[in-house]
């Protein structure tokens, strides 16, 4: 729908930045993220715990076994050389190493090179005091499990140390962590996708309703929603349809009322009009008083008839029954003929040298001109000119022709320039009936006629030092 003036748009600047769809997607994504993070963390912690515990158990077991073995064999030890040989025979799997403390000497095994300096001081002291200790230590940059077991069964001071690197476990845990992170990411993406899908499912019936509402608002009162297969949405479409029907009935009833009333008034108006004509013919035979009464009656019956006709006309717009009987018209010729028809043949017309054709309904266009000229006569001391020009394209680029009616009155105050096209608008000049047959619907009807053609109508005050108003409207250009 076109507006009654240079387009103004009202923006709901306080509307939410993120709509329902965005929030749904964010919610699902966030949910996916949180859930997967919780799960991942739990999994990781659990895995970490078990792996570490298991490794610990295995290492402890092995260390104890090895310690027992070494202890047994140590009973027959004579010198340090034998001690070294003994340690070398201890089995330590990849990633672990053993150390045998005999009196004050340390003898290591396997290739890793686990030495005295790697034993934590606190641990050694504890072991030398006869305690079996285990701890996590940082040995040569790797986290390792360090076990110290005093050998009590042997005749001399001895202890068995074993270190098990946890780097393997660390590697496993790292891989796990990466995998879980990747999984979380995927879950989040899946969540977003799900949110998108959910958004679409939820919003699609909403956009259907929105489209239907727009259609109704633009006048297509018959629009209804088809029954939704979804049980939960059925109530919604049902309620919507009920509302639309109630609305349509209301609107049609109102419009029909205005139309019916006007229709019923036709016959009595016919009698009134014809009777007044008969009386006027005998005017000179009437006494002075009767003559005055007849004159007053005549003027008002005329005005009343026009009001009824205008009401009928506008009610047809309201009920959507207005149709357009278009034909190509040369703008200049139309304007000149219209001016002649409304009794203002001498108003100067300014038009471009070339012929401009408009695609319009003659009867309606004549009414527009009539109403604008009448308005100029009533409030602007008469129209002083009509201008025809090409206007900027409207909407889909339809070329438009603009016709402006100019007067030299006092113009229209800025605040009234929009409302002046309202029905029964009473501006600052309102209330004066004068000698014209203005009905208060003139400009409102003109606006309806213009909008039916797909054009715009507006008023502005003349610029450049001259006072007066300039009423302009646009009509689509006829392009063969």
């Amino acid at each position: 729908m076109t507006s009654a003036g240079p387009p103004t748009r009202t923006r709901t600047d306080d509307s939410r930045r993120f709509g329902l769809r965005a929030r749904l997607i964010a919610a699902f994504g966030l949910l996916g993220l949180i859930l997967s993070l919780i799960l991942s963390s739990a999994t990781y912690l659990f895995a970490q715990n078990s792996l570490v515990n298991r490794t610990q158990e295995v290492a402890l077991d092995r260390a104890n076994q090895n310690a027992a073995e070494v202890s047994r064999r140590s009973r027959a030890l004579d010198d340090e050389e034998q001690a070294r040989l003994l340690v070398e025979q201890v089995f330590t799997p990849e990633g672990s190493a053993a150390l045998f403390q005999v009196r004050d000497g340390f003898f290591g095994s396997s290739s890793i090179g686990f030495g005295e300096e790697d034993i934590d001081e606190g641990l050694r002291i504890a072991v030398e005091q006869g305690l079996a200790v285990q701890m996590l230590a940082d040995i040569r940059g790797e986290t390792s499990y360090l076990i110290g077991i005093p050998l009590k069964q042997v005749g001399f001071r001895a202890a068995y140390y074993e270190e098990t690197s946890l780097s393997g476990v660390e590697d496993t845990l790292n891989s796990l962590r990466l995998a879980l992170l990747a999984g979380s990411l995927l879950s989040t993406v899946a969540g977003v996708g799900l949110g998108f899908y959910a958004g679409r499912t939820v919003l699609s019936p909403l956009s259907t309703i929105s489209a239907a509402a727009t259609k109704i608002a633009s006048g297509d009162l018959d629009t209804r929603l088809s029954a939704d297969p979804d049980r939960d949405l059925q109530q919604l479409s049902h309620s919507f349809n009920e509302m639309a029907t109630a609305l349509q009935d209301r609107i049609e009833r109102d419009a029909r009322f205005a139309s019916d009333v006007s229709h019923e008034l036709r016959s009595p108006l016919m009698t009134l009009t014809a009777s007044i004509a008969v009386l006027e013919r005998r005017r000179d035979d009437l006494p002075e008083r009767s003559r005055v009464a007849v004159d007053l009656l005549s003027a008002d019956i005329n005005r009343f008839t026009h009001l009824v006709e205008d009401l009928l006309e506008i009610s047809r717009f309201d009920v959507g029954a207005a149709d357009l009987d278009r034909q190509p018209l040369e703008a200049g010729e139309f304007v000149r003929q219209a001016l002649k028809m409304v009794g203002s043949p001498n108003v100067p017309v300014r038009a471009p040298d070339i012929d401009l054709f408009i695609n319009g309904d003659k009867r309606r266009l004549l009414q527009i001109m009539q109403n604008l000229i009448d308005n100029a006569a009533k409030y602007g001391s008469g129209a002083t000119g009509v201008e025809i020009s090409r206007a900027a394209p409207e909407g889909f680029g339809t070329p438009m022709v603009q016709i402006s009616v100019i007067d030299e009155g006092s113009g229209v105050p800025d605040a009234e320039q929009d409302v002046i096209f309202d029905r029964f608008a009473r501006g600052s000049e309102g209330g004066r009936r004068g000698s014209s047959t203005g009905t208060g619907l003139g400009l409102a009807l003109a606006k309806e006629h213009v909008m039916l053609h797909g054009g715009r109508i507006w008023v502005e005050n003349r610029s450049g030092g001259s006072t007066g108003a300039r009423f302009s409207f646009t009509i689509p250009e006829y392009t063969p």
């Binding site: 009698t271 014809a274 009777s275």
Partner: protein, 226 residues
């Protein structure tokens, strides 16, 4: 013999006051309150112009119009309600020469009646007979024949045909025809022309769907093809 106008209107008040207005113009007025009375009066007394309101009790105005049309080419004006655009076309198709919408000014009605009475007289005694294929038009006699057989046209249809025939091949716009035949100006109702062309075609064209004589020129108007 004075000019007789037959008014067919069921509303008593309207009928009375219209009669007074028309009598003021010097015409004799016959009144009927319904279709049956109208046909009876017309048959008995005849009339120069018939005014029929669409909304009648019993047989409707269209039917009255059609009945009268079957036997005579008397000028008929239909009185319609303003917003019934279908009524206008239906009235014209039923055979009316013109229409008025209620409420109208009596002086408007008088003007239309006078225009119809002017049209009722022979078109132009100075124009000679014209022949186009099987169609023969004699403006001085007010006669049209198709392959020798007389075609019964209303006064308006006849005037329309003569206007088109006055310059065969020339395209007349609706506005021009409205001006010449109905004496309306630029803002006359184009439907008057369109429906009358349709009616003319059903009477003189061998195949009204594919006109050979009265041809439409898209976007411009109508012409008589020689």
């Amino acid at each position: 013999m004075s000019i007789k106008i037959l008014t067919v209107e069921d509303d008593n008040s309207i009928r009375t006051v219209v009669r007074m207005a028309l009598e003021d113009e010097g015409w004799e007025v016959l009144e009927a309150g319904n279709g049956e009375d109208a046909l009876a009066i017309f048959k008995r007394d005849g009339a120069n112009v018939v005014l029929i309101d669409i909304m009648l009790p019993g047989i409707d105005g269209f039917e009255v119009c059609r009945s009268i049309r079957r036997s005579t080419d008397v000028p008929i004006i239909m009185v319609t309600a303003r917003d019934d655009t279908h009524d206008v076309v239906a009235g014209l198709e039923a055979g009316a020469d013109d229409y008025l919408t209620k409420p109208f000014e009596p002086k408007e009605l008088s003007a239309r009646i006078r225009a119809l009475l002017r049209r009722a007289r022979s078109a132009d005694p100075e124009m000679t007979t014209m022949t186009f294929g099987d169609l023969e038009i004699s403006p001085d006699e007010g006669l049209v024949t198709l392959s020798g057989e007389e075609v019964h046209l209303t006064k308006t249809e006849f005037r329309l045909l003569v206007e088109l025939a006055s310059s065969p091949g020339r395209v007349f716009s609706r506005e021009q025809l409205l001006e010449r035949v109905w004496e309306y100006g630029y803002f006359g109702d184009g439907r008057l022309v369109d429906v009358h062309v349709r009616r003319l075609r059903t009477k003189i064209e061998p195949d009204p769907a594919e006109p050979r004589y009265v041809v439409t020129v898209r976007g411009l108007g109508y012409k008589l093809q020689a």
